[in-house]
């Protein structure tokens, strides 16, 4: 008959959810609980390593062996295989059983199934890696800052754009400043834990200004204290550029309306002179009035052409142009117009200049704009009685060069510097601020440039240089950022 006490400990032994075995010095399993038997089968006459690991000999690092050797408890992480081939992660604890002489006779090994924990750990690691990847590859600048505004972590885009060295101050990286910005949103977020948005202009490593929308948020530890602040900045430079463009369209409309009002005023004047001239049968007055009317109609026409060119923002329509023929044609038209204003018009064109590649329509209107500008500069100049205008055409192997020189009102330094800005006009009511802007834009679209030399009261000298061969389109785009502003 079994001892009742013994039966109770057997029941406890069997009730333990882990895999419990008792092993002798040869690692033979001498006892095992129910859970073990269910998962690993009959252990009679078998060794631990055979059952758990399906191997022919003892494991190299065996916790049971260590307990036999030193009489201490040990633990280890193992992967074991059940009778039906299932891999189980187990946490193993070994405990010695001593005889009366204090010698270890057997070792109890308890293995707890931690497969689920292992899985959760793996999932955690995976998700951490995913978050890190998200952080790294986000298309915005992300930095994590400590309370002293040191950047302690930054994502790839941030590092590439601002060249982070960990521990650099935020304001040094973003703004190349020695002192903290005032106010600093990261600081505010540290203080009250509120997320914030604001807009900034920061400067990249290469000195490029970048408009950013900055979002700050607190990073709290397990106790809810704010340890770091994350700063995420989205590049909105393109958006701002688009906005600038839109607002310049608004300005353009205002400027057009203004220009049209002036031209209508001039037209009214011309009509008045013609009408009253007819009534009085005054031939001189009719001629004068008709001339004024024609001039203002012509100005309206060229303004409309300019607006169309501005509105389209088109790529040049490249073709081979006979330079001499085109310029001569333009000069013939403009000579008549200049001489009707008592302006002496001459041209010196090199007949050997040859062909070049360009948008014929655009180059024509560029030349017309420039010459018209010079005619106006002479017409409104009251300080001299003799006015002249010279157009020259030259060329070398790589370039064709157009020059337009007049002795009109000229420009002071400020006017010269703003001459090609959108909506800047020095002609008061006479100008829309579009002509030279468009002329310059056309030259730039062809990879060329317009230079102006001028002195107030003395006249202007415009020099247009265009490449003979179509340049690389990308290069042009980089070099012809819109010039806006002006007056």
């Amino acid at each position: 008959m079994e001892h009742p006490r013994r039966r109770f400990s057997d029941r406890v032994f069997d009730a333990i959810p882990g895999y419990l075995t008792v092993q002798d010095r040869d690692f033979k399993v001498v006892e095992a609980n129910d859970a073990f038997k269910r998962n690993f089968g009959d252990h009679t006459g078998k060794y631990c390593y055979q059952i758990y690991k399906h191997r022919p000999e003892k494991c190299e690092d065996c916790p049971v062996e260590r307990t036999f050797r030193d009489g201490q408890k040990h633990r280890s992480d193992e992967i074991v295989t059940t009778i039906d081939g299932r891999k189980v992660n187990v946490l193993v604890y070994t405990t010695p059983i001593f005889d009366d002489d204090g010698k270890v006779t057997e070792v109890v090994e308890m293995s707890t199934d931690i497969t689920e924990i292992k899985q959760i750990q793996k999932q955690f690691r995976d998700s951490q890696a995913r978050y890190h990847q998200l952080f790294e590859e986000s298309p915005c600048f992300i930095s994590i800052q400590d309370e002293s505004l040191n950047v302690v972590d930054a994502n790839r885009l941030h590092r590439e754009t601002f060249g982070v060295g960990y521990g650099d101050k935020c304001y040094t990286l973003y703004k190349h400043r020695d002192k903290e910005c005032e106010p600093c949103t990261v600081r505010k977020t540290f203080k009250d834990g509120e997320a914030r948005n604001h807009e900034e202009v920061v400067t990249s490593l290469s000195g490029e200004p970048i408009n950013v929308l900055v979002h700050t948020a607190p990073l709290r530890n397990a106790d809810g204290e704010i340890e770091k602040v994350i700063e995420m900045s989205t590049d909105i430079t393109q958006l701002r550029q688009l906005q600038d463009k839109l607002s310049s369209v608004g300005l353009l409309i205002g400027s057009i309306a203004h220009g049209i009002k002036n031209l209508l005023n001039g037209l009214d004047g011309g009509i008045y002179l013609v009408n009253t001239g007819l009534k009085k049968d005054d031939r001189g007055r009719i001629d004068k009035g008709w001339e004024i009317a024609l001039r203002n109609v012509r100005r309206i026409r060229s303004m409309v052409m300019d607006i169309l060119y501005y509105a389209k923002d088109r790529e040049p329509n490249w073709e081979e142009i006979s330079t001499f023929e085109m310029v001569e044609d333009v000069c013939k038209i403009m000579k008549e117009r200049a001489e009707s204003q008592d302006i002496d018009f001459s041209y010196e064109l090199d007949g050997e200049v040859g062909d070049f590649e360009a948008d014929k329509q655009a180059i024509r209107s560029m030349l017309l704009n420039l010459i018209e500008n010079s005619i106006d500069a002479c017409r409104i100049d009251t300080n001299k009685s003799d006015h002249h205008l010279v157009v020259r055409l030259k060329g070398d192997a790589d370039k064709v060069i157009f020059e337009i020189e007049d002795n009109g009102i000229g420009m002071d330094r400020e006017t010269r510097e703003k001459a090609f800005s959108l909506f800047f006009s020095s002609k008061g009511a006479g100008g829309t601020g579009l002509g030279l802007f468009i002329a310059n834009k056309i030259a730039q679209a062809h990879g060329g440039s317009i230079d102006v030399q001028s002195e107030e009261g003395k006249g202007c000298h415009f020099i247009v240089e265009l490449l003979r061969r179509r340049p690389d389109i990308e290069e042009i785009k980089e070099n012809s950022e819109p010039t806006s502003g002006g007056e």
């Binding site: 209508l264 001039g266 011309g270 203002n296 409104i380 008061g428």
Partner: protein, 126 residues
């Protein structure tokens, strides 16, 4: 008839000077003209016109500056000034909000209605 009333036309656009002088002369006034604010102020002082039409948007010296100079000079501050502006109507409000300068006698927006302009001149100087 006694001496014709004299009008000074200040505008940097020759077409407008041509138009206004013909228009005013046709209606019994004599005219003189200036192309910018400097010249305009000089002529106002030396010729003492009965009325001035003044363009706002001129390059060299703006109409606003010239108006201020006319206003500050004892000699010329009684001459009625008609401002001709291509700028939007808000300009009128702006000028009138300046306390140190009295508003001009009248404003005309471009394109100018010639009949209204003439009747205003008649009202001001006869």
């Amino acid at each position: 008839m006694a001496d014709k009333k004299k009008i000074l036309i200040v505008d940097d656009e020759p077409d407008i000077v041509e138009w206004f002088s013909t228009l005013f002369e046709d209606n019994g006034y004599s005219t003189i003209s200036a192309r910018d604010g400097f010249d305009g102020f000089e002529k106002a002082e030396s010729e003492m016109p009965d009325l001035i039409t003044l363009d706002i948007t001129m390059d060299k010296e703006s109409g606003v500056k010239m108006y201020r100079k006319l206003h500050d000079s004892e000699k010329t501050n009684k001459i009625p000034v008609i401002m001709i502006t291509g700028v939007d109507p808000q300009f009128k409000q702006f000028i009138e909000s300046r306390k140190q300068v009295d508003p001009p006698a009248a404003y005309f927006e471009k394109p100018v209605d010639k009949d209204e302009l003439l009747s205003k001149i008649k009202e001001l100087i006869g």
